[in-house]
């Protein structure tokens, strides 16, 4: 309880300080409007539905990239787990993958796929899928070999084996992968919208920035941060609930 109070204070005190600094014009609205103004702006924006199309676009693309990367990541992880040679070959790629600036490939995707949604979804997918593959591999590694043998002795079907042996062991790792995949899908899609695109939240923020329209820019940035944090927190919550249930059962 005390912790929650401290956390609230850790959010509210800096915000209050910012509010005062902004109202006293120590920080001019050209740099940062007062936090209350930003919140109010976000409220009006959502009430009027000014950016609903952009929000819908971005969220659709993020969800697409996320779902595709989780499905493909688990499938590829399971396949690579069964092929040690392929795994030995790919392991160095996985360990350096996130050092590669994926955005640099974006222009190539645009040339190949055109200026539609595909290049953005692909960037989000490419960022997210590798963390899902790596987490799946780690999850499958964590299943003790003896349990695989037990399943064979009991003549469990592959589906039963996955449901009652593989998944319970791999679940925590898969969860980590899913959480990373959400974050990377967001980063990839919004980043791609920033660089070159005519729709979506990233584009709208860039447009507002180019026009020095802080009244639009800051509420939109706040919206992105709020959505990303909210999704992450609900996944966290779900994971903890699952773990607690398993602990009791």
């Amino acid at each position: 309880m005390r912790i929650v109070l401290y956390r609230l204070l850790a959010v509210l005190l800096p915000l209050a300080l910012l509010e005062i600094l902004c109202r006293d014009r120590v920080i001019t609205p050209l740099t940062l409007p007062a936090p209350s103004r930003i919140l109010l702006g976000l409220w009006t924006m959502m009430a009027n539905g000014t950016f609903n199309a952009a929000i819908l676009k971005t969220l659709t693309n993020v969800s697409l990239a996320f779902v595709l990367s989780v499905a493909a990541g688990i499938a590829a992880g399971a396949a690579i787990h069964r092929a040690p040679l392929l795994r030995a070959l790919l392991e160095p790629l996985f360990s350096t993958y996130y050092a590669i600036p994926i955005y640099a490939f974006y222009p190539l995707f645009i040339v190949v796929f055109g200026l539609g949604d595909a290049p953005q979804v692909l960037i989000g997918f490419m960022l997210a899928v590798v963390s899902m593959i790596v987490s799946t591999l780690a999850g499958l590694d964590s299943v003790p070999a003896v349990l695989g043998k037990t399943a064979r002795v009991l003549q469990l079907s592959p589906v039963e084996t996955i449901r009652s042996v593989t998944l319970p062991y791999a679940a925590p790792y898969l969860f980590t992968g899913v959480k990373l995949a959400v974050a990377y899908a967001f980063i990839g899609v919004i980043g791609a919208e920033f660089i070159m695109s005519g729709t979506g939240l990233g584009y709208e923020i860039r447009f507002a920035y180019d026009n020095l329209d802080n009244g639009v820019m800051y509420p939109l940035i706040l919206l992105i941060l709020l959505v990303a944090v909210a999704v992450n927190m609900s996944l966290d919550h779900w994971e903890r609930a699952l773990r607690a249930r398993r602990g009791r059962g």
């Binding site: 401290y6 990233g202 920035y209 990303a228 944090v229």
Partner: protein, 249 residues
């Protein structure tokens, strides 16, 4: 026979496979989207003979090194400060994790409004990408140190600073190093992204102008250079990481 050679040099074979894939994709999509591997390497070699290109490299390099120093110092400071204080860790850890899941690219207009276009903005953008993973890994490293070491330090009446220097840091070093390795990759990506949006110089700026002009040669060779540098340094850091984890092995 081939199997054994692949197991012995996975990275080498990976490079060969990737080069072959690159060539095949080039044959599929054609010259207006991609440059074949050999031509890209030759073009990069030609770029590397011009003084202007080295000016861009120096600019990016300077920004990156400063950003990395800030990421590591600030990340270590935050991680250690929370690591030695349980209450602070509990209060602030969710903020760190949320900071990790947020698409930091959405913050670039704010960074530009605060720092203006140029070197400080790039450094700030690189540093906000790098500091969070270093802090998180440092904090985790601290909480993984066996409590008995702290009790021993207390029994020997070490001052807090001596305790950090001669107990905490050595015990947590392997995990901290992993954090720095990931911080390195993210800081590089952050710096490049910062240059793409808020700069008139550097490799990111070069990449962004080339994207605008559809200059495939420049896009491909700058990307190749970045991938080469990132992959090389990451491989070296990874080797050091493994050495720290199993000394003697």
């Amino acid at each position: 026979m081939i199997r054994r050679t692949i197991y012995a040099n996975p990275s080498l074979f990976l490079v060969i496979v990737l080069l072959a894939l690159w060539q095949i994709v080039f044959w599929l999509v054609g010259r207006n989207a991609l440059l074949p591997p050999l031509e890209t390497i030759l073009y990069l070699a030609r770029l590397l003979q011009t003084a202007r290109f080295w000016g861009h490299i120096a600019e990016t390099g300077t920004a990156f090194v400063i950003a990395l120093v800030i990421s590591v110092v600030a990340g270590l400071a935050i991680g250690l400060a929370l690591g030695v204080n349980r209450l602070a860790a509990e209060v602030f850890e969710p903020f760190l994790l949320a900071g990790n899941s947020v698409p930091k690219i959405a913050l670039y207009p704010i960074v530009l409004l605060i720092f203006g276009i140029g070197m400080p903005a790039k450094i700030a953008f690189g540093a906000i990408h790098g500091v969070v993973p270093v802090a998180i890994f440092t904090l985790t490293a601290c909480s993984n140190v066996p409590p008995i070491l702290f009790r021993a330090a207390a029994a020997m009446r070490l001052t807090r600073w001596d305790m950090i220097r001669s107990v905490l840091l050595p015990a947590a070093l392997p995990d901290i190093f992993s954090g720095i390795r990931i911080g390195f990759s993210l800081t590089l990506i952050g710096t490049i992204l910062g240059e793409m949006f808020g700069s008139q110089r550097g490799l990111g700026y070069l990449l962004m102008t080339a994207i605008g002009l559809q200059n495939i040669e420049v896009i491909m060779s700058v990307t190749l250079l970045l991938v080469l540098v990132a992959a090389t340094v990451n491989t070296l850091l990874l080797a050091q990481d493994r050495r720290l984890r199993n000394p003697g092995g």
